[in-house]
């Protein structure tokens, strides 16, 4: 952890004021950093604030508190130098859960994948751009025959491939994927996860993988953060987290995730954790090498 991390989130707070008396504390002071070439998983149940973290990093919401650094530059301030802003736009990409909503239905696959290249003026010549688009489509397993199709003509798995092609087109340093496989079939999920793994190895980008499916996060990530009610309750390397879960909530999540093995599944005891008792007090403390716990 000596080199500058690709992303450094310090004390991120994101509150949403619904009205004068009600404020939703979606994210309530979290810290983490993502190293170059790392796959960082964020898991949590509905309403834990994991998607809000993604949006805050991308600058969709103005932060309530805290700072976000991208490759050492502060990116959460209101006014940023032009170079920093351009760098963020070029080198940070997102993939959403619902690919139907993420892709413009009036654009062809080719136009969709070319758009980030066009907006960021990556290539001056049209031919170069076209070449890159086709190369990206090939990388995600789509043949050139798909370039003139519209998103509406594609299946969910195909659309997600187009969204992935778009995100890798400008060779970003960081890709954030917010539940990218939740709405896909199991056989297609496996295809997309394998694709992520392959692309991440060949392109070497950092990857934040947000999901509620523990088994997929476990398969893909090098480190995992577990979120509950806007807090990170535990953060550890993947193997360490699954072998020695320290927070009772993590333990209950792991024990609740169903395992496709009838004998094992029926003999397991489920650990219950009453989330209403969770106050969110405490600080994330390193209890073992790289293993952080909220206490």
């Amino acid at each position: 952890m000596t080199a500058t991390p690709v992303l450094d989130v310090v004390g991120l707070v994101q509150h949403f004021a619904i009205n004068r008396s009600v404020t939703i504390r979606a994210v309530d002071g979290i810290d983490f950093s993502v190293d170059a070439g790392e796959v960082f998983g964020i898991v949590g149940e509905t309403g834990s604030g994991k998607s809000t973290v993604a949006k805050s990093i991308l600058g969709v919401n103005a932060l309530t508190g805290g700072e976000i650094y991208f490759k050492g530059n502060l990116i959460s301030a209101k006014h940023l130098p032009k170079e920093v802003k351009d760098d963020v736009h070029r080198n940070m990409q997102i993939i959403f859960q619902d690919s139907a909503a993420a892709l413009n239905p009036h654009m062809t696959v080719e136009e969709i994948v070319a758009e980030p290249l066009l907006v960021n003026r990556v290539y001056a010549a049209k031919e170069e751009r076209e070449e890159r688009v086709l190369a990206c489509l090939a990388q995600v397993g789509l043949s050139a025959a798909y370039r003139h199709k519209y998103p509406g003509e594609l299946s969910g798995g195909m659309r997600q491939r187009v969204a992935i092609a778009r995100s890798i087109a400008i060779r970003p340093d960081l890709i954030i994927a917010d539940e990218p496989i939740a709405s896909l079939d199991i056989s297609i999920q496996a295809q997309i996860v394998t694709l992520f793994q392959h692309l991440q190895k060949t392109e070497g980008f950092s990857f934040i993988f947000i999901a509620h499916d523990l088994s997929m996060v476990r398969f893909l990530s090098t480190r995992i953060a577990v979120m509950l009610k806007g807090k990170i309750v535990e953060l550890a390397p993947t193997d360490e987290l699954f072998r020695h879960p320290l927070h009772p909530y993590t333990a209950s999540l792991i024990s609740s995730a169903p395992v496709p093995d009838p004998d094992l599944e029926r003999s397991r005891t489920r650990l219950a954790y009453d989330t209403s008792l969770f106050t969110g007090d405490g600080v994330l403390t390193e209890v073992a090498d790289g293993h952080f716990l909220l206490m």
């Binding site: 149940e45 299946s155 199991i186 056989s187 496996a190 997929m216 169903p258 009838p262």
Partner: protein, 340 residues
């Protein structure tokens, strides 16, 4: 045990502007009293339509092309809508994936349950309320008297699904169709709902047909499993037979796509291609085009069911005595378990 639901050679077609879509193709299935049968498959494989065809909750363009459905000794294929209405609820009920769209957001939960009670019996107002409170207690809602008067938005997703279950159980059905009842829920809540379903089966002797695509959930709850692909059941057997001794290449593919069964350090195996559109099903086995182990005959002729054991059968030519023997590539073995 008596067979409560029997489906014989059921085929179901949808008339669409593009042509006829065969959603269910010649399904044979029987479910015993008090059994939990899981139907597993990817989206579009016909698992939901199969349940809906028993309930007769099909859209207007659906047509039962052939086959019979017998529930508790009564043949229901020819029943009119009026007859079906009295059967629904009394004989079978159904719960769906999203509890919020099932419940009316403006009416208190208790009233919605009492309404279901009164529809299916001639109970009076007070008797219906008493029965509704009893049902709320049964499905594990604390303080039923207070919660009786609350609208659905006061409840969490898991509690809403419990209320939907209460409505489904209002008239003591014999069979419960549960169509992905836990897909929209968090894992910790999902575990509790599954435990509740198991408890209800033991307490009420309920028969449950459980539709899911999650093999982990199925491993937890099912007694028997039917794997569906493109409108056909391709493999059926007891839960241990399906998980520890799968025979159909599609079942192998499904199991291998699960990250928790992947061997450490090895990439996930995936089934190539996509589920077919059933507009013009090809000749032979529909799965052949995605099947790594496809034989020449798979492209020509639909495989019949080959019995592996009295309770286990799979429709694949690989089980034909003349076919080459291919060992299952799935690593899951009994009692081996995995590091957890």
């Amino acid at each position: 045990m008596a067979e409560i639901l029997e489906i014989n050679n059921l085929s179901l077609h949808f008339d669409t502007p593009e042509g006829e879509v065969c959603a269910v193709r010649g399904v044979d299935l029987c479910v015993k009293q008090g059994e939990i049968l899981a139907i597993v498959g990817e989206s579009g494989c016909g698992k939901t339509v199969l349940c809906q065809s028993v309930m007769k909750l099909l859209p207007k363009n659906a047509r039962i092309a052939s086959g019979t459905i017998t529930v508790d000794g009564t043949e229901i294929t020819g029943c009119s809508e009026k007859e079906m209405r009295s059967l629904r609820g009394n004989l079978f009920s159904m719960i769906f994936q999203d509890p919020m769209t099932t419940l009316n957001p403006t009416i208190p939960i208790g009233k919605q349950i009492a309404e279901a009670v009164r529809k299916h019996s001639n109970a009076g107002k007070d008797a219906a309320k008493a029965r509704a409170l009893e049902l709320l207690e049964l499905i594990g809602i604390e303080d039923p008297v207070v919660r009786y008067d609350l609208q659905p938005h006061f409840f969490s997703g898991g509690m809403r699904q419990r209320c939907v279950l209460a409505i489904a159980l209002a008239s003591n059905p014999k069979i419960l169709f549960a169509d992905e009842p836990t897909t929209a829920l968090d894992v910790t809540v999902q575990a509790k709902i599954l435990d509740l379903l198991l408890e209800l089966r033991d307490k009420l002797g309920l028969t449950i047909v459980f539709v899911s695509h999650d093999l982990g959930v199925v491993a937890r709850i099912a007694d028997r499993v039917a794997i569906m692909y493109a409108g056909k059941i391709v493999e059926i057997g007891r839960v241990d037979e399906i998980f520890y001794d799968p025979r159909h290449p599609y079942t192998w593919g499904l199991m291998q796509s699960l990250p928790s069964l992947a061997r450490e350090g090895e990439p996930l195996h995936c089934i190539p291609g996509m589920p077919p559109v059933m507009l013009n099903p090809p000749e032979g086995d529909v799965f052949a085009y995605r099947n790594l182990y496809a034989l020449q005959i798979d492209y020509e002729e639909m495989p019949p069911f080959f019995a592996v054991s009295p309770t286990h059968a799979a429709a694949t030519w690989l089980l034909d005595p003349r076919a080459p023997r291919i060992p299952s590539p799935v690593s899951l073995r009994r009692k081996e378990g995995e590091p957890q």
